[in-house]
Subunit: 213 residues, 2 copies
């Protein structure tokens, strides 16, 4: 059985994994995009958006690692879209266009049932209404020997951390202060849950840290 | 007039500037000493404790910078010692022996009056009972054109941050998880107070970050 991992998850110096006031126009919250300044220049990201070129090196290595080896993904509903409450219709299909970057079964946590959506490139969105444990069981079954990625957002990562379900986290400590937003670790005792720092690799734009247990 | 600075202040990945359960035996709290693993091997620290040798490079450069250019220091009472409430006698003179590493007037925030203590090497401990603003005014007067260092601990740094009194902070992001302890920034909106990241320099053992406004 594969591992359950968080990867490529950026955190501000003051501990926020997303900015405040998320919306259709600001899916990462105010100033949230600055968390990912390490990622945009990489070859991995540019390939993802169909552009040539991009940087190689530490950031690109971690960017590639953060999307490799996964047989299924789990996303919180707010990471899937800005819609709250019941789905008004079937029109919202994620932020990522017709060919999302997952290329595997992707399970969306929600309280509001919806039929699966088959996208291009191997991504199918499944909507799970019976909780994080059920979603993880389905994702594990879909992933087989590959890993399951907890894609985010902050609330979803926190729930799986508190449930003791995550084997490894790759965090990107970005040199930015957000001031407000969603705090990733507030109130969570990581060493108490068995985590320790197993890797720390700086780049010019961030510090990559791996936590495992 | 000099600046008011925090320097060489280590923070865990989960945001703690000291461990929990501080005591005479554990002045930095449980596992708090691990925050400072970047510092102990440096030539600057070894010189401070009268030992030869030590590392040079990024960590030593920042260690030296963190003690240079200051004409006065401000410390919270818990950083000065484990005594709480009234001073039982005059015996406690800090954690640092006869020749503390300050070599300048050092103002201790406390509600309990006490006569100044003249130590060896230029350090005099002054006990200030009328608040952080009064302590800063006295420290500025003592420092002249030199800078004032807010030495810590966490509570003292937070009080001066919230008062808008700090010009610059050098933080050392240490690759350690504490889980519990004193959170440095929780509830403080640093960009709202005008701070931004002006410097980020990795070493093998930590990431040095400078915040200024």
């Amino acid at each position: 059985m594969g591992k359950v991992r968080v990867a490529g998850f950026a955190v501000s110096l003051d501990g926020f994994g997303a900015g405040p006031d998320q919306s259709l126009e600001q899916p990462l919250g105010l100033r949230g995009p600055e968390l990912h300044n390490w990622f945009y220049p990489t070859r991995t990201f540019r390939t993802m958006i169909g552009q040539p070129g991009g940087t190689e090196g530490v950031d690109d290595d971690f960017a590639r690692r953060s999307m490799e080896g996964f047989g299924a993904f789990i996303l919180g509903r707010n990471m899937f879209g800005p819609v709250r409450g019941d789905w008004p219709d079937e029109s919202w299909k994620g932020w990522w266009g017709d060919d999302p970057p997952y290329h595997a079964p992707t399970f969306i946590l929600t309280r509001h049932a919806r039929a699966p959506i088959v996208m291009e490139g191997g991504t199918t969105f499944h909507f799970v209404t019976d909780g994080i444990e059920a979603a993880l069981a389905q994702a594990r079954a879909a992933a087989g020997d590959l890993d399951v990625k907890i894609g985010g957002g902050v609330s979803t990562v926190r729930q799986y951390l508190e449930a003791g379900a995550i084997d490894e986290l790759h965090l990107v400590m970005s040199p930015v202060l957000l001031g407000r937003g969603e705090a990733l670790f507030a109130g969570i005792d990581l060493p108490g849950l068995g985590y320790r720092v197993t890797e720390m690799v700086p780049s010019d734009s961030a510090t990559h840290v791996v936590l495992a247990r």
